[in-house]
């Protein structure tokens, strides 16, 4: 096509005073943006393929590179943004559905940023977490409601399976297929070292990672990839994936191109075959059906493992969560609309779902009102960007949180949102052997451990400031939260007061 309707989104700024023509940018760019021209003895760039992943910038030994948004502009239009116009050109060229990756990047409100935290002054002294014990250990699962005593006065509790977390943070589901084997290994090793859990996602569990089983949550999704007795037995908990925050109501599609020998073995599908997860579970059309699957999985695992049901945050999430709590599930995971994905139709990712803050608050309130909050634990997911977000989530009613985007960032991801291309320059969302080896699990696992350890320190600092020495006392403690710039309806849903009240 002689006419190029889609201008490059970015431009490469190369400082000629710094560039030593070492060509590391050229070697490290899977999108083939940089090139050494021997005739000119110069590095040149073809920016058409640039996704702003920052790999070249990070590797450049002389800081000679900058990637900037392309300054070229269409005629400014308050209605038609450059992005929308660009997408029209793309679709007019391809005739296809637009694909995107990672979480919803659009300019919707972020409620975390409109919630402020409390601290103690005078009457209720703050606690110094470096001097006094501070507890962040978390248990997930049904909480025993009844204590009975036998005739000797010995107490008896209802025993239910649970997960024990040293930090209230787990790594959310990312399948082997959407991310590389090295990325999975890094998550598994980090979860083990941190005393928490990572989640296999729907792609099965690679045989090399069964050794990390006691820190693994195994997922059962609508495609049932890689699910068999050994897989269910390998994990510490089983998660039924009903939905995903980035693409509620949509299944998954791993292109056959990525289904290499290892993935084919792990997912139990032929090599090169597309792995398509249906939008619904074909055996679940009601809460009663869900209950059957929960019970089947409990039976298959001898009733020893908690069952998690993961749903996307959608309009009537509170009623759905209430149903799930009654289905026998031990834990509900709710994934907000900012949650990431390896690939989703752009229109779905950018327009479907609701913010996790509102979903979490309404689910917690609903379960409390119905007196069934202790029947389940709640795990909040869908963009926990910092320890402050985690604290706010727990104060809104979450028992723990799932992180994934920030975990990927710890491994090198720069949120270029091009996972769907399979050419991840950081070796995370790719199956190309030469790219996968760029992620050394020795480095990535350490960085993950660092991140969660740092967040846990910060959580303790914030709790200490509030005069709270145990995460249990923070859970659902919405008095610790105040809204700023929120209207009454939003405050009501969040169940918090406005700052100053």
């Amino acid at each position: 096509m002689a006419v190029n309707y889609n201008n490059p989104l970015f431009e490469v700024i190369r400082n000629p005073d710094r560039c030593i023509k070492c060509r590391v940018c050229e070697r490290q760019c899977a999108n083939e943006v940089h090139k050494y021209d021997a005739d000119l003895d110069k590095m040149i760039a073809n920016e058409q393929g640039c996704v702003d992943c920052q790999r070249c910038v990070c590797l450049c030994p002389t800081n000679a590179l900058k990637i900037r948004p392309n300054e070229n502009q269409f005629r400014p239009n308050g209605n038609w943004s450059m992005q929308l116009m660009d997408e029209v050109y793309k679709q007019a060229g391809s005739g296809g559905v637009l694909l995107s990756a990672m979480g919803n990047p659009q300019n919707y409100p972020v409620y975390w940023d409109k919630i402020l935290l409390n601290a103690s002054q005078v009457t209720n002294p703050p606690i110094d977490p470096l001097r006094e014990p501070m507890e962040t250990k978390t248990f997930l699962g049904k909480k025993s409601q009844k204590i009975s005593y036998d005739k000797d006065g010995k107490a008896h509790f209802e025993k239910t399976p649970y997960l024990e977390l040293d930090v209230p943070i787990m790594f959310s589901a990312m399948s082997f297929g959407s991310i590389s084997k090295n990325a999975h290994e890094s998550l598994a090793r980090a979860a083990t070292a941190l005393g928490t859990y990572y989640n296999t996602g729907e792609g099965g569990l690679h045989r090399d990672f069964y050794q990390y089983g006691k820190n693994t949550i195994v997922q059962v999704a609508s495609g049932r990839f890689g699910v068999f007795k050994g897989y269910l037995d390998a994990g510490a908990a089983v998660e039924i994936k009903m939905g995903q925050g980035a693409k509620p109501g949509i299944g998954g599609h791993l292109p056959g191109m990525k289904v290499n020998e290892e993935i084919s073995r792990t997912r139990m599908i032929p090599m090169g075959a597309d792995a398509i997860s249906p939008a619904p579970h074909h055996d679940i059309y009601s809460i009663e059906d869900l209950r059957q699957l929960v019970n089947s999985l409990k039976e298959a695992t001898g009733g020893e493992k908690p069952i998690i049901v993961k749903i996307a945050a959608v309009h009537n999430v509170a009623a759905i969560a209430s149903g799930i709590a009654r289905s026998g599930a031990d834990i509900i995971a709710i994934d907000g609309f900012r949650g990431g994905t390896g690939a989703a139709p752009t229109r779905i990712r950018d327009n479907v779902g609701i913010p996790i803050e509102l979903a979490l608050a309404s689910v917690d309130s609903r379960l409390r009102d119905e007196g069934i909050r202790n029947d389940v634990s709640i795990v909040a997911a869908g963009s926990m960007r910092s320890a402050a977000d985690v604290v706010k989530a727990i104060a809104l009613g979450a028992d723990a949180v799932y992180i994934a985007t920030s975990a990927l960032m710890a491994m090198g991801c720069h949120l270029c949102r091009s996972c769907n291309t399979g050419k991840c320059n950081w070796g995370i969302a790719t199956q190309r052997a030469d790219l996968v080896k760029r992620l050394n699990p020795d480095i990535a696992a350490e960085r993950l451990i660092n991140l969660v350890t740092a967040w846990n320190h910060e959580i303790k600092e914030i709790m200490g400031g509030m005069g709270i020495n145990s995460i249990e006392a923070l859970r659902g403690n919405r008095l610790m939260l105040r809204g700023v710039g929120l209207n009454q309806k939003e405050l009501d849903i969040l169940g918090i007061m406005h700052a100053g009240e």
């Binding site: 710094r18 030593i20 070492c22 590391v24 590797l59 030994p61 030469d434």
Partner: protein, 144 residues
Amino acid sequence: MKKVYVNEDWCLACHLCEYYCAAANSGKDLIKAFKYSDKKPVPRIKVEEGSEVNFAVQCRHCEGKPCVKGCIAGALSIVDGVVVCDENKCVGCYTCVLSCPFGCIVIDEEGHRIQKCDLCTKNHNGEPACVQGCPNKAIVFEER
């Protein structure tokens, strides 16, 4: 004795080690060494590239030490297990270049003498520059 080893599983053939090595041994920073020098410095480490396997090679400070044995000028010697070259003695006969089984001895940028990896013991880098600069921990400096 601590030596430099390469784990080919993690070597990306980015060639950064070559640049860090050359600059460290030239005593200049990367920009001065490669942009503002009359002759570009020559690295003492070389990345061997294959379609699937890559690895960086530099002097193994090996057991047999054929370079030391073959040196006609007494320029190569062993100091604390490290094979080092006295540039003032080297006459540029290149016997060592021919005898090194790993191809790790190179001719310097002037083209008159040899130079080789001395584990950065002669420059101000401290730990070997290739190890410090490797972005994927493929090159390590350790006891084995």
